[in-house]
């Protein structure tokens, strides 16, 4: 079952959902709106090999906006720290973001229960589009789990800043 906006609010008050900073105006009927943070990450050229660490650079998103072209792919982060030890978060674009042709995640919308941090956005543009720091970009919904809970303790825990893939650790 999916939590309503008022239930999300209650669970934040109860400490069962983390959203920091929390702003009641970002609550919507079935989700909480997420803002874009301040950094973005771009991989360097070359064929990515998941068995190896691929080089990348991290930049500030200019206050005047970052222009993405169709086909561009980069990683960024939510401004908010989010997560829950009680509910499963799922990331979505805001409908307006999607209508501008921008993916905010690539294939993996599901966040592990117990994973707390700034979520990494996977920005993939299908049209030219500009993004700004602190813009309302995405939304997170929360879902009830069934069964005994095991909390996440994986390689992306407690991170801030856009996190590149760390698949090379799987092959270490």
């Amino acid at each position: 079952m999916i939590l309503t906006g008022s239930k999300i609010h209650d669970e934040i008050d109860a400490g069962h959902i983390v959203v920091e900073p929390f702003n009641v105006s970002q609550l919507s009927t079935n989700s909480y709106d997420l803002r874009l943070g301040y950094k973005y990450l771009k991989y360097r050229e070359g064929v990515i090999d998941p068995k190896k660490e691929h080089l990348y650079d991290v930049y500030d998103i200019p206050e005047t906006g970052l222009q993405l072209e169709a086909g561009d792919f980069l990683l960024s982060e939510s401004l908010e720290i989010i997560g829950s030890d009680h509910f499963v978060p799922i990331i979505h674009a805001k409908s307006g973001t999607a209508r501008a042709g921008l993916f905010v995640h690539v294939t993996a919308d599901l966040i592990d229960i117990g994973s707390i941090g700034k979520t990494t956005f996977q920005l993939y543009a299908t049209l030219p589009v500009k993004v700004y720091p602190e813009m309302l970009l995405a939304q997170v919904s929360f879902w009830r789990p069934e069964g005994e809970i095991t909390l996440y303790k994986g390689k992306y825990q407690n991170t801030t800043g856009p996190q590149p893939s760390k698949t090379y650790l799987d092959y270490a």
Partner: protein, 166 residues
């Protein structure tokens, strides 16, 4: 409701979930990491009637490089299914962070399906994939209402399967 790690393990034990070559080390807090099967279908152009045509490549140990701008069909190495739960089959976040889609907007796996799932691979960056690499994740969801199979189509296939015209 979405099943937790513990509930997934219990459901595999009880037979409510089928995952071949199941390894408990690959169960996440609320999903299971599946592996990429060795066959990939590569788009080679349209046929005279406009339908896409694919050629099957069987990967060797050094894998295969996917490039942006195309779409490839892969397959899960495992048979995955459930007669009790509905499924959502997506990529791992570690692959999404590289810009690799494992499905194109159709993540829903119907209750009662049990087979090797076709993957729709589309990549934003050139990337090498390897046979049997942990590439995606599947989650399991409780149903509300009586489960009744209203027909199977793609669930009858265990290899990368392109669109079938009715």
């Amino acid at each position: 409701m979405i099943l937790t790690r513990q509930k997934i393990i219990e459901s595999v034990d009880s037979g409510d979930i089928t995952i071949s070559n199941f390894e408990s080390a690959r169960v996440n807090p609320n999903s299971y990491n599946y592996l990429l099967g060795e066959d990939i279908k590569v788009y080679i152009g349209g046929s005279s009637d406009g339908q896409p045509e694919f050629e099957t490549v069987t990967m060797k140990d050094d894998g295969y490089v996917l490039h942006p701008g195309s779409m490839y069909l892969g397959v899960t190495d495992e048979v995955i299914g459930s007669s009790r739960y509905a499924m959502s089959l997506i990529g791992r976040s570690s692959m999404g962070r590289f810009g690799l889609f494992l499905q194109i907007s159709a993540n829903l796996g119907h209750t009662t399906s049990s087979h090797q799932w076709t993957l729709e691979l589309h990549t934003a960056k050139s990337i090498r994939v390897y046979p049997k690499m942990p590439i995606g994740q599947v989650s399991f969801w409780t149903n509300f209402g009586a489960v009744k199979c209203l027909g199977k189509n793609y669930a009858l296939y265990n290899s990368p399967t392109e669109r079938l015209l009715s």
